[in-house]
Symmetry: C2
Subunit: 223 residues, 2 copies
């Protein structure tokens, strides 16, 4: 199953996939789907010339990627100050076993976004972003939890990063074997990997023991 690149919007010089360009994908639908499926992203930013990579929750609304946290959070403060940043999400789909050590690999879908984030100050947009972040954790949850108070809104910094410069990279299928290795008697193929959400939800000690797990939580394991 060779990967076929679709090109809808031309990539920028910086987001063009440098190596193995047949793994690069620039279609906005593909990019959005990967961003939406990934629970967390990794944010790259410099502090005094030292790059840092920090995992955090994200949520996409249209052409914007939202990040949030405490106003004292160093990552968010650094990004708000207008530095060039990179946000990357990665979904791992399989282990790729080859007849040679050399061609072992991993199947994955990843998106790299470059850009500068800005603080969301409009209160309506801020509330929509926070709703999207909660819905990104569990779809349907915003309707079954208390929305933020004014004090909580003030205690939350929300940043918006435009998806103007983004690209996806996808690897699928088995290893690309050397012709001369095909006769070797080693099993070769793909071991599928996925996020397991079938574990039993654990209510905290304040939930009535008889209270059922909400339908939208139970639905997660059917995703």
């Amino acid at each position: 199953m060779p990967f076929v690149a679709e090109t809808a919007t031309p990539p920028s010089e910086r987001t063009k996939v440098k190596r193995l360009p047949d793994r690069g994908e620039y279609d906005r639908g593909a990019i959005d789907a990967i961003l939406d499926e990934a629970l967390v992203c990794h944010v790259g930013f410099p502090v005094d010339g030292q790059p840092y990579v920090i995992p955090t929750l994200h949520a996409r609304v249209g052409e914007q990627l939202y990040l949030h946290g405490a106003p004292a959070n160093r990552m968010l403060r650094t990004l708000r100050d207008g530095v060039d940043a990179c946000v990357t999400v990665t979904l791992i789909d399989g282990l790729v076993l080859s007849r040679s050590w050399f061609h072992h690999s991993v199947n994955y879908r990843s998106v790299v976004v470059l850009g500068r984030a800005v603080e969301v100050t409009d209160q309506d947009e801020k509330l929509r972003a926070l709703a999207a972040l909660v819905e990104h954790i569990v779809p349907g949850r915003t309707e079954d939890a208390r929305p933020p108070t004014d004090a909580e809104l003030r205690a939350t910094l929300v940043l918006s990063l435009p998806l103007a410069e983004a690209s996806a990279k996808v690897r699928t299928g088995p290893a690309k074997e050397e012709e001369s290795d095909l006769a070797l008697d080693h099993w070769s193929g793909v071991v599928p990997l996925a996020l397991d959400v079938s574990g039993e939800p654990a209510a905290d000690s304040y939930v009535e023991p008889s209270a059922p797990v909400p339908d939208y939580v139970a639905a997660l394991s059917a995703r």
Copy 2:
């Protein structure tokens, strides 16, 4: 289940967890365990002042973290040139549902490594690093696949990053609720997440249909 930080080796000023220091963990055993469990890492490095974050395989051997790829790979070439880099791994353990939007979170274990990588030129160390990378994908696989030829070794760049400056951050347990929210009638708790390796391994088209899946592959789903 509140998180308890263990401190074995004091963190450097740069790897000390800035926010929520009770989530910071500096014990080498804890750091190693997270690095070993995570299949891929995210590498942060600058190119012309722009930070990039790229996912890649890693493997730890003692105090060294190894990365590898094609000699033309921009990330590896940049790192080899001696830039300050950051390698981060993240394991997602659960969705944390709170009675308030504000206290929603994710349970995770992450490690951040800062440092400069160097090229591995010693051929014995290079072979050990490549073996570790294959074993990191599937333990037991090196014995059941063809080791690299001299040409393949030359076509592989291996870098070593010392684990001298590393820290872990861990979040466990349910949401920290506001006292005044505890009476609210919203289900609250943790939905466990894990990597699902129980999918059916798919042999490539050159494997004899009657050939069994190797024991060490079947064992993955029992991990």
